[in-house]
Amino acid sequence: MKELIRKLVESVGPSGYEHIVRDVVKDEVAPFADELRVDALGNLIVRKGVRKENGLRVMLSAHMDEIGIIATHIDENGFIRFTMVGGVFPRNCPGGRVRFMNGVQGVIGTERTESVDKAYMIEQLFIDVGASSRADCPVKVGDVAAFDRPMLDLGNRLVAKAMDDRISVAAQIETLRRLSDTPHEVYFVFSVQEEVGLRGATAAAYGVDPDVGIAVDITMTGDTPRGMKMEVALGKGPAIKVRDGRMLSDPRLIRHMVETAEKAGIPYQLEVLEGGTTDASVIQLTRAGVPAGCVSIPCRYVHSPSEMVDIRDVQHAVRLLLEILSNPIPL
């Protein structure tokens, strides 16, 4: 599974430009899919199974996009000014490297400031791709890029950019592969534009029209020195979301997930996330409303170019999803 994760996290796919990632996912899922389509916004929608007695139409959603940057101006000396796509922290940018969709790589530099203790504003940053003039700069206004960094394998812990949310993409692919018998009509959605406002899942959920929705996404942790106060920790199993900034999970679904994990002996944690949200929040509000929940994979250093997850949490998340999908979901 590590090789699949590496392939996914090292692909470039900022919001709105997920096609490279989608091609990777498509190749992986095609042999296991009963039906596969790409919708108007670029969501990859993969169906497995037909609805049997006691079955529901279940939508899973993991987003393919990652945070990134977009070029706003090329100056006369070939430096690229940029703004963010999604929740990029300017403090994580200086010295970082980026890769544009066309393969061009560059490094992020900073204007000189008077005070060293003040955080940079995005307007004070620029990208240097080695050009010396506007004319020889291989990047145009409107070109998008993602942070560029190879995956680091620390054994149980993996570090990479875009773990948010390729790790869940990997988990959904693995779940699809191993799902042999299900009473449900399961739609594995690999969604787009989550980082800019859950836009892909909004459209996908309308199109799929599910009976129940489960997002698979990362969540933050409270287990680093002087970090945020939060119960979730790396290595203690997938987190069953109770609440986040924009959603209250359906209590029946929470209870069912907890009971399923306990019966199968899968470690799990309960998650209350103060800020942030997932695709589940828009699935919940689709059409006349959909019971929704979320299986989260704990992740440190979220929205930095070095996001860390524990592979065992991922494997347990896959097991939990398989148990949920292989049995009736009481609602």
């Binding site: 919001s15 709105g16 430009y17 096609h19 989608r22 790409v38 919708d39 108007a40 916004l41 670029g42 969501n43 977009i70 070029a71 706003t72 101006h73 100056d75 006369e76 000014r81 703004t83 796509v85 969709m101 307007e123 145009k140 206004v141 409107g142 998008v144 534009q193 800019v196 836009r199 892909g200 909004t202 459209a203 996908a204 309308y206 199109g207």
Partner: protein, 365 residues
């Protein structure tokens, strides 16, 4: 893509008639939620050419030009009719009225400006303390809305009531190659869409949505797209140009758009990441017909596309704007050439577009 000879129409031009129509549109008052005056102008212009014309529950005017072919794309173009402005919220003695702002207006643009109030355009002024009376201390602090009133004079008490809208009282003018007026955002788009409806090709269904309440969150476009269910959409708007030299002689890196550089094609704003297939189609069209164009600097702001692309199961969308300086102030300024080139770009794009544009998945070409 090759131009198709499917239509008998010819490239519409911006002449005296079009400028006169824009003048009428610019001088009309249509603050968000009260778009009737502009809607009536559009209705009059298009009732003889429209195959269908519908005035929906929120006040959008939906004008359809049907396809004359068997298979066709449904192309929605949205231009919002509303403008930013004010709403009267309280009546005081002697023709004085308290007001709130509607949409994005800066308080620093208010004091001392003349306004038109209500559907009859009654004249008033946003009063401000004369410089003679302002203490040096007061000069330093920003003006608060609490201290401002619309003053319509002692006879004006009967001319306005709570809920009435008001706009800056700026009369449209042509000045050489430029046009100056209020609400060019987005009467420019409305005037352009009127021409596109009049010169629609026969191989597509053109769904022209003259929308309401864009300035307060693209509310009209949201329901218009739900009703129309287009195959793809273009938001036609006006976007700020801040293309002035930097005061310290440094290169201006944050201009948004530049006057005279042609239509501004959007890649990303706060509400939408444009469909790359549509961006490259518009760019290819501009290059083929040698129409100047610019890529709007990605960043904040939003258009009707932000609501349209999320409609139902998703709609491939892009925005095109006519650049204009000083948007949302009492007087905007634009170039006729940018208007002409925007009309030309969209005219040719509609002529040449085919269903093949959506045959490939959303991706960069």
């Amino acid at each position: 893509m090759k131009p198709k000879q499917q239509s008998v129409t010819r490239l519409p031009l911006i002449g005296a008639r079009q400028v006169a129509l824009l003048e009428k549109l610019s001088n009309a008052c249509a603050v968000s939620g009260d778009e009737g005056e502009v809607r009536r102008i559009v209705q009059d212009e298009l009732k003889s050419v429209a195959d269908e014309m519908k005035h929906d529950a929120l006040g959008n005017l939906l004008v359809i030009r049907k396809a004359r072919t068997e298979s066709f794309l449904k192309v929605m173009i949205a231009a919002h009719m509303d403008e930013v402005g004010f709403m009267i919220v309280d009546k005081e003695e002697g023709g004085l009225f308290r007001f709130e702002m509607v949409g994005g207006v800066s308080k620093s643009h208010l004091a001392g400006k003349a306004v038109w109030v209500g559907t009859k355009h009654h004249y008033g002024v946003i009063g401000a303390k004369a410089i003679h009376l302002i203490s040096p201390e007061e000069l330093k602090s920003p003006i608060s809305l609490e201290n401002l009133r619309i003053d319509m004079g002692p006879g004006g008490s009967d001319h306005a009531r709570v809920g009435d809208r008001a706009t800056f009282a700026t009369t449209f003018r042509r000045v050489g190659p430029s046009l100056i007026g209020k609400a060019l955002d987005n009467r420019l788009g409305v005037a352009t869409l009127i021409e596109l409806v009049k010169h629609a090709p026969m191989h597509i269904e053109l769904q022209a949505a003259f929308t309401v309440q864009e300035e307060i969150g693209a509310r009209g476009a949201s329901v218009a797209a739900y009703a129309l269910q287009p195959d793809l959409a273009i938001a036609l708007d006006s976007t700020p140009a801040y293309d002035l030299p930097d005061w310290d002689g440094q290169e201006n890196t944050r201009y948004n758009t530049r006057l005279g550089f042609g239509p501004a094609i959007y890649v990303a704003d706060a509400g939408t990441i444009s469909d790359p297939r549509l961006i490259s189609f518009l760019v290819a069209t501009a290059e083929q017909y040698r129409i100047p164009y610019q890529i709007r600097q990605p960043g904040g702001g939003g258009t009707d596309a932000g609501a349209i692309h999320r409609s139902r199961a998703g709609v491939p969308s892009v925005s095109v704007s006519i650049p204009g300086r000083y948007a949302h102030t009492p007087a905007g300024l634009c170039r006729i050439s940018d208007w002409r080139h925007t009309l030309a770009l969209l005219y040719h794009a509609l002529q040449d577009i085919t269903p093949s544009i959506l045959e490939t998945e959303r991706r960069m070409p």
